[in-house]
Symmetry: C2
Subunit: 295 residues, 2 copies
């Protein structure tokens, strides 16, 4: 692939993802209301950062194929399930997400829990039924997806986050939370993309480092936006972390310190791409995109 | 395997399952409280019907191997997650399960939701990391587990069950619920056991029929026990279905009619074993065990 502007890439492939995502749920034979609830949150917008990161990693090595979308959409199913469960009254108790009423506000708590369960399970089905991918590769993808999204990954991070709300955290604890809660799936997006694209072990090593740094950039930026973002663009109230006395990077490091840290990790992300002998401009632009995003 | 009494089999293998089940969670690197919550419900007792059915199916073909336990325990993880989520205030709002306080009563709702999410995800990890099983077989096992436990299986059945509580059901609707809510995992237990044991396609066909009939036996008996069971043995209040005006087999068919239906499906389960040229006595005894259980 020749150097493409990330903006062109995102516009083109976000559309492709948005088109395919509902199809993986619409063809299920299940109670209508359950399907509606799953589709409601899948179709509620969202930047599709994880699937786009996966596709951008693949595009670094070869043209994107139809099969790739199935893994990318599985990943978005997992991300969406985690948002539905996180928004529940027993968890973050959020009424709005991406500017729309949260799943349980529309479908009730029971259905929201089950829609999340259904999306999580569907993700594993999508990866295990990939066509044109060897069983060995599928197995690796399933295994790493389970690790990234389960108790040792995202679910563990969410528990640490809930427990952390009760106290002031140290930077190390805050990093544990983000490494697991949001980092694990971001890393998976990139590493799974590299596996699908048959990248060398060495490249996968560098891409893993890249994904770790990018995950930090993503989270620090999130915390900064919560302090100085535009509520209309964010689709949620600004200062909500502050009002909950939640530990954040600006709170621990000051806003200025958080911005410095953001830049350090952005630079480290970029330098981890140097050893890859491909056109990595798309991934490099992702660092800038996440660093400069306004919502 | 020679003819074994089912009682001997259950005593021996329930112990093996109970010993191994916590090990698959204890070795996880995750927040301690999350691990406690997952272990609490896994160790809360239970008859281990699903793993035992899987092992009994395997024992019909060959000796049980260490690997088999990993799939059997994955299945119990899924079953346990479904109980944790079903018991939540937003769902059945149960305070006791197997005579012990339900997960959310001990750990709070947020942790119960996440413990369920963690167990569900762990199940897929366990199946995808099986050793000594070909990637093709593992893939089939993951795929069928996702189908059995997701929107087209157990989750869909739970939604239909919740929706059915609001109205009087017809027999067909009641059967839809049970076919999905409890039937799907029971079928998986037997079919996955047959796949692991390398049974022929023809045998798998007959075992699938067997599992469908056995699932009906299981559910009709459950409904009958709710009318005439012993609350101490059941670990929950008797008549709880009745008090919720929930549709049940005795309610739709009368207690006598439900008992007749139980017998019909038990006979059909047994006759589906006739075409299998193995010693099927263990599976046959399972029919009797489920028909005559007192809790």
């Amino acid at each position: 692939m020749n150097t493409t502007s990330l903006q062109t890439f995102i516009e083109a492939y976000k559309k492709e993802i948005d088109q395919r995502l509902p199809l993986f749920i619409e063809n299920l034979s299940c109670p209508g209301r359950l399907k509606e609830a799953m589709l409601y949150s899948l179709n509620a917008g969202g930047k599709r950062v994880r699937p786009l990161l996966m596709l951008a990693t693949i595009a670094t090595y070869r043209d994107i194929e139809e099969t790739d979308y199935q893994v990318a959409c599985a990943l978005e199913c997992i991300h969406t399930y985690s948002l539905i469960h996180d928004d529940l009254p027993a968890m973050d108790d959020d009424d709005f997400r991406r500017g729309k009423p949260t799943n349980h506000r529309v479908f009730g708590e029971a259905m929201a829990i089950l829609a999340g369960d259904g999306l999580l399970t569907r993700a594993f089905e999508l990866v295990s039924t990939l066509e044109g991918v060897s069983p060995e590769v599928k197995m690796t993808l399933v295994q790493q997806l389970a690790e990234a999204s389960g108790a040792e990954g995202m679910v563990g991070g969410q528990v640490a986050d809930l427990e952390g709300e009760k106290k002031e955290l140290e930077l190390k604890e805050l990093e544990y939370i983000h490494h697991h809660k949001t980092g694990a799936l971001l890393r998976y997006a990139i590493v799974a993309g590299a596996i699908l694209a048959k990248a060398t072990e060495e490249d996968i090593f560098h891409l893993r480092t890249f994904s770790e740094q990018l995950g930090l950039v993503f989270q620090i930026k999130d915390d900064i936006l919560d302090v100085e973002g535009n509520p209309d663009q964010m689709g949620k109230a600004i200062g909500s972390d502050e009002s909950k006395l939640k530990s954040t990077y600006p709170r621990l490091l000051s806003l200025e310190g958080a911005k410095e840290k953001l830049q350090i990790h952005a630079d480290q992300a970029l330098s981890s791409l140097h050893s890859i002998e491909k056109d990595v401009s798309l991934l490099a632009q992702f660092v800038e995109y996440i660093t400069n995003r306004s919502h």
